[in-house]
């Protein structure tokens, strides 16, 4: 069995093996193997190519941009997605604009350990993908499975554009697979995680698993819920979303990020503007609550969507 976290480690080992242009830069990623051990033993196996960085997110991303200009393909590990804010400027203003401005591609991969885990609190739990998605020039991946964590990270390194790889910390140890995948959907394609005919849940990352659990609960009540795993939120595979809504006539978009704007709002807007006639009920959204992310598990478990709240939202939607 291999975990989601081990898949990320294995993908980086393969990238380092296959491509001499790849190196890893981040805090504690060297001999220590990273705060979550996503780079365990890589410094030993690839001497000189897994470098500890000072606590300088702006300079970490900035230096990756410079290395990319010179033909390297750096992987930057930000210790927590929340800590990407000091590097925000280099990500959104520099990496994202470089190709458009200069015709020189910027193939950097920024790994953002994202999302909440119990007890992590306001500054070690954030889901930043929607904030970054606002900026043109970025590719944003949100793998929900062990297989996608592996194959999409390899693809991220190969893509000639800056990629934000939003790996979910809750899935690091919870999620296991038999082995590494030998084939994968390409980046930009969504996946039907569970087919159904009564209602569509469009979601991504850890929320895919909450949606699948809710779907299982509703199947006992006679409803067949279709779960669409977006996999990538920039680009969004709008065609797959619309095709699913065409089958079910109902849409619930679920995300772990905050409710103002963001990925779920984007999905609802697209379906409303392109597929209003497909809908039998108003499109709905379910997101985290509009406060900082609480520390205590009791509060945290209520702050973010979970299988029971997704199931409740689905029942409401199915009654409309």
């Amino acid at each position: 069995m291999i975990t989601y976290l081990e898949a990320i480690r294995e993908a980086q080992a393969k990238a380092l093996t296959d491509d001499p242009r790849v190196y890893i830069y981040g805090q504690d990623v060297g001999r220590f193997g990273g705060a979550f051990k996503a780079t365990k033993n890589l410094a030993h196996e690839f001497p000189g190519r897994v470098l500890d960085a000072p606590i300088s997110e702006d300079a970490m991303v900035g230096s990756a941009i410079g290395a990319a200009i010179e033909g390297m393909r750096p992987i930057v590990e930000i210790q927590y997605a929340d800590f990407s804010t000091p590097g925000f400027n280099q990500i959104v203003n520099h990496a994202a604009s470089l190709y458009w401005r200069t015709r020189v591609p910027c193939p950097i991969t920024v790994r953002l350990p994202s999302g909440g885990t119990a007890g992590s609190g306001p500054f070690h739990s954030q889901s930043m993908e929607g904030v970054y998605a606002q900026y043109p020039g970025l590719v944003i991946l949100t793998p929900a499975t062990v297989e996608d964590a592996y194959s999409m990270l390899l693809e991220a390194v190969a893509i000639d554009d800056p990629v934000l790889f939003c790996e979910h910390k809750y899935l690091y140890y919870h999620l296991k697979a038999e082995g590494l995948p030998t084939e994968a959907l390409p980046v930009g394609k969504a996946r039907i995680a569970r087919p159904g005919r009564d209602v569509t849940v469009v979601t991504y990352s850890a929320m895919v698993h909450e949606a699948l659990a809710a779907a299982e609960e509703l199947s006992g009540e006679g409803y067949e819920v279709e779960v669409v795993d977006l996999r990538s939120i920039k680009p969004i595979d709008t065609d797959t979303v619309l095709a699913s809504v065409a089958r079910t006539g109902r849409l619930l978009a679920v995300g772990e990020a905050w409710p103002w704007g963001g990925v779920t709002a984007e999905v609802v807007a697209r379906v409303a503007s392109e597929g209003l006639a497909l809908l039998d009920a108003p499109p709905r959204r379910l997101n985290a609550k509009n406060t900082p992310i609480p520390f205590h598990p009791n509060l945290w478990g209520t702050h973010r969507p979970t299988a029971p709240t997704v199931a409740r939202a689905l029942r409401d939607l199915l009654r409309l």
Binding site: A53, S56, A59, G62, S63, G71, P74, P105, V139
Partner: protein, 316 residues
């Protein structure tokens, strides 16, 4: 220096005539420092110029057409109308294109040098410039610290032109002298009077040589006065007359010309002839660019990605 001055004065007059979109930012008073850096670098080095580095850009090999095309928004320029004025470069040639956020280019040059180290290239130098105001940014601190940790061959010129836009030094930093910061970062520090071309060539040249020889990052703090506004929209009325009349207020270009004449390295006639031919070169470049096409929204790709297949077509 002379070409940069003549070119920028022409651009300023075009700005005043309403012929340039956006701002025009002059390096007037900073030419000696900037040119010294451009001349000390070699092909194969990395250079990320900042706002007031027209002289350094030319010395590093920029064709004046690239400057004029970017200022005038020609579709044939390196930025094709997507970017203007000082935001230009050819990164593949080691000539990086600045973004506006101060301090941001320092770590990018560091990354370029890390890449060169991975490739096993020796004797490469990476250089960039910043002003007194830019030294207050977090990006400046993060990048100089990173450069020192990695012992990179970075040359960082700090042009202390006394004002960050309108803010004087005493509202920008409280240390006695910016060069004192070098020891805190663990880098070598140098000071230079940037009104003096001889001194700039000597000090900047030495800093570049030290970096090239493997002595790690070099920080050069240059004293000068900005002899213009922040941009041509700014009358710089906040600069006291007494400062303009003091030593720092001397024009480095005029001082350099006097030195050349005093040493009889050039005659007044030769200097006049040189100035005339440079003026003609600039006029011709502007005439050429004025005939060039502007960018066309209908043929613009409107795609920010190098991988068009990954563009979010719904947003198109």
């Amino acid at each position: 220096m002379l070409l940069a001055r003549v070119l920028e004065e022409k651009l300023a007059s075009l700005y005043r005539a309403g012929k340039i979109n956006g701002g025009v930012f002059l390096g007037k008073g900073q030419e000696a420092l900037s040119a010294s850096l451009g001349m000390s670098l070699r092909k194969g080095d990395i250079f990320a110029p900042l706002i007031r580095d027209q002289a350094g850009r030319l010395a590093f090999g920029e064709d004046i057409l690239e400057a004029v095309r970017t200022y005038m928004g020609s579709a044939l320029g390196p930025m094709r109308g997507r970017e203007g004025n000082v935001h230009r470069g050819r990164p593949k040639d080691g000539y990086y294109a600045m973004i506006s956020h101060l301090g941001a280019m320092i770590s990018v040059v560091c990354g370029g040098l890390i890449a060169r180290r991975f490739k096993g290239e020796k004797g490469v130098v990476g250089a960039t410039c910043i002003g007194d105001g830019g030294t207050s940014t977090g990006a400046f601190h993060e990048a100089l610290n990173l450069a020192a940790v990695e012992k990179l061959p970075l040359v960082l010129l700090i042009a202390n032109n006394q004002f960050a836009y309108s803010t004087p030094n005493d509202r920008e930093f409280a240390c006695h002298d910016l060069v004192d910061r070098a020891i805190g970062y663990g880098v070598e520090g140098h000071k230079v009077d940037a009104t003096d071309l001889d001194a700039c060539l000597d000090v900047v040249g030495r800093a570049v040589a030290r970096a090239r020889e493997g002595h790690g990052p070099q920080m050069v703090v240059a004293s000068l006065l900005r002899l213009s506004g922040h941009g041509e929209h700014d009358d710089a009325s906040y600069i006291p007359e007494a400062l303009k009349a003091a030593h720092l207020g001397q024009d480095c270009l005029k001082t350099a010309e006097c030195t050349l004449l005093d040493r009889k390295w050039i005659s007044p006639e030769e200097l006049a002839e040189l100035t005339g031919s440079i003026q003609q070169q600039v006029e011709e470049a502007i005439a050429t660019v004025q005939r060039e096409p502007a960018p066309d929204p209908a043929t613009e790709t409107w795609c920010a990605l190098a991988t068009p297949g990954l563009d979010d077509t719904f947003c198109a």
